[in-house]
């Protein structure tokens, strides 16, 4: 399988401006050099705790803000595009191909717009707008594809339930005929009974529209169910990456083990705990060595001074730890 998006050594540092409560500006290291290759047609899952950099990575991918350093490449046809803010025309074309779907459909849909406008507005300003008659026709098609009815075009978001609104968000992303969908916690705000409907819909849409999906969620069971490969982020760094079945069966990084061990399962045992006591990663003062220092049960002197590189320990299974593999 060929790569569709390749991220190399991507970093994002935010500046916290000095203000009433802080006398000096500080820097927040949200992403510290992440390299990931997304393959054409796969679902790539990203997991990690809050502050791990999942959303920063996804948002930097579509350039909702510029990245600090590193490279984002996109492969389409025989072309290779490097994505930066400096080429707005290329960026616009890239953004029709790579679509972002947000967590909370009620805050990401304009309550004053009817569905027809929500769906068509983005495409109207796109590089290759098909003209307004064609636009409404397309809107109708995608709305049916996500399981809503044609006459829902004239209704407003408030007339729909949470699950239906998430379908509208998906339709809005699909209308530009994208190749990649970034799903950032798309089922987190939904009830269990609705969550399953949306997950099944995503699987169906993926096949129907030949999509590549980047799937972000905090529920590890859901991510494992949906993804072909999974990347585990902590403190803005990729700690482990493996095909889903392998990661589920044998997580190798101590952080992945901690994360998976803490997950409630239906077999009713209380999850393991104890080694989580240490101080979590502080993005304003990132450690020189491994970001997991302070919480890691395997920690040694070397971890505090040398940041472990990602190494391939088995085919397709990469781990960033001095003491694994």
């Amino acid at each position: 399988m060929s790569d569709i998006i390749r991220v190399s050594d991507l970093a994002k540092v935010y500046k916290l401006e000095a203000g009433i409560f802080a006398s000096a500006s500080r820097w927040v290291w949200a992403l510290n050099g992440v390299s990931i290759a997304i393959r054409h047609g796969e679902t790539y899952g990203l997991v990690g705790e809050s502050g791990s950099g999942k959303t920063t990575l996804a948002k930097a991918l579509v350039q909702l803000f510029p990245h600090t350093s590193g490279r984002i490449e996109y492969f389409t046809g025989n072309e290779r595009w490097e994505i930066t803010q400096s080429d707005p025309r290329l960026l616009r074309r890239f953004r029709s191909d790579v679509k972002y779907v947000f967590q909370d459909p009620s805050s990401s849909l304009d309550p004053r717009m009817e569905v027809r406008r929500i769906l068509t507005t983005g495409l109207r300003y796109a590089e290759r707008s098909p003209g307004s008659a064609r636009l409404v026709e397309r809107a109708r098609d995608v709305l049916v594809a996500v399981g809503l009815r044609e006459d829902d075009l004239e209704r407003r978001p408030s007339e729909f339930s949470g699950g239906q609104r998430q379908r509208i968000s998906l339709a809005r992303a699909l209308i530009s005929d994208p190749r990649v969908l970034i799903c950032d916690e798309v089922v987190s705000a939904l009830d269990v009974s609705i969550q399953g409907q949306i997950l099944n819909l995503l699987i169906e849409l993926k096949q129907k529209f030949s999509l590549t999906i980047i799937f972000i969620a905090h529920d590890l069971t859901v991510v494992s169910y949906m993804s072909d490969r999974i990347g585990v982020l902590y403190g803005g760094s990729l700690m482990e990456e493996a095909p889903t079945a392998e990661l589920v069966r044998s997580p190798l990084h101590p952080y992945t083990q901690l994360l998976y061990g803490a997950m409630p399962r239906l077999d009713g045992k209380l999850p393991e705990r104890g080694s989580t006591g240490g101080a979590p990663y502080n993005p304003t003062r990132p450690p020189v060595g491994c970001p997991f220092v302070g919480r890691c049960p395997l920690e040694q002197e070397k971890c505090r001074t040398v940041k472990p590189e990602l190494r391939e320990v088995r085919p397709g299974h990469r781990v960033a730890c001095h003491f694994v593999g």
Partner: protein, 345 residues
Amino acid sequence: MADEREGTTTAVSETVLDVRGLTVSFPTGGGMLRAVRGVDFALRRGECLGIVGESGSGKSVSALAALGLLGRDAHIDGSVFLDGRDARSLAPAQLRALRGTFASMIFQEPSRSFDPIYSIGRTFQETLRVKDPTLSRAECQATAVRLLSEVHIPRAEERLKNFPHQFSGGMLQRIMIALALANDPDLLIADEPTTALDVTIQAEIVGLLDELRSRRGLSLLFISHNLALVGQIADRILVMYAGLVLEEGPAGIVLSQPRSPYTRALLDALPSWGSHYGKERLRTISGSVPDPTRHEPGCPFAPRCPLVAERCSAAIPPLVRDEDQAAGAGPRAGAYRCILPGVKT
């Protein structure tokens, strides 16, 4: 685990919270919203009862109504016994006094439960002085340090000077629990206490609650939408839907051999650990939760139920308790609400 507890509960086996026939409605522009439509549950000393349900199922409203914490616009009916006393017949001041010495509650988002301009020490002082206004600052501090150590906050004395924004979400939830212990309660109600937290922190908080329950003999009412999480801490589970209890029973049994088609469908809608979309699709529940202002007769789950029959929409099915069916099943066995013959065990 259940066996251990059996031994200790024989001495004090009284019921801490007993709710019978509870109904709660709110007047709205679109008619009466019936949030809770006749709910019974009992919580024994040292026991953990889990209430699970989707949003709008009435799980939080039931707990708030039980403690008398709903606003005046709520129409409440039924009986609530707190520590054996009829809470609904008490005057507001008496109920407040009973609550103050007997029950505590923690909520979903710890960061929103604290006043950002008060230090943690000051928050403790204010809470402790509600009960005893004569407490000195030093006494308050000593009690606060003891409570914070009980929930494993390191360097408790120093941290009393800190403000809420200086703590992580998990730490704040621990402090919230410490505050809830200030009145030395017998009953602790936890309403989605870990929903805003990461899984690793969630595991710590649930572990802490379980530890406090066994150390202090606390009774715990644990409300959550997460079936797996409730299964880990609760002895018994109540499954609510559209303001009704659809199933009740020992946690392990409800989650492994559910009898209500709703519980079954909820469990099926969750991906199981290690399953993959390439191999199996999720069996989803079609449709959505019924509108609580529309009063349809019949089983509330009927429009979405995979097993639905014509008579399901005639009347709300009765809650069938095991003791109604077989003598010797005991009052601690389960109950479910379904009239379909194939569903019965």
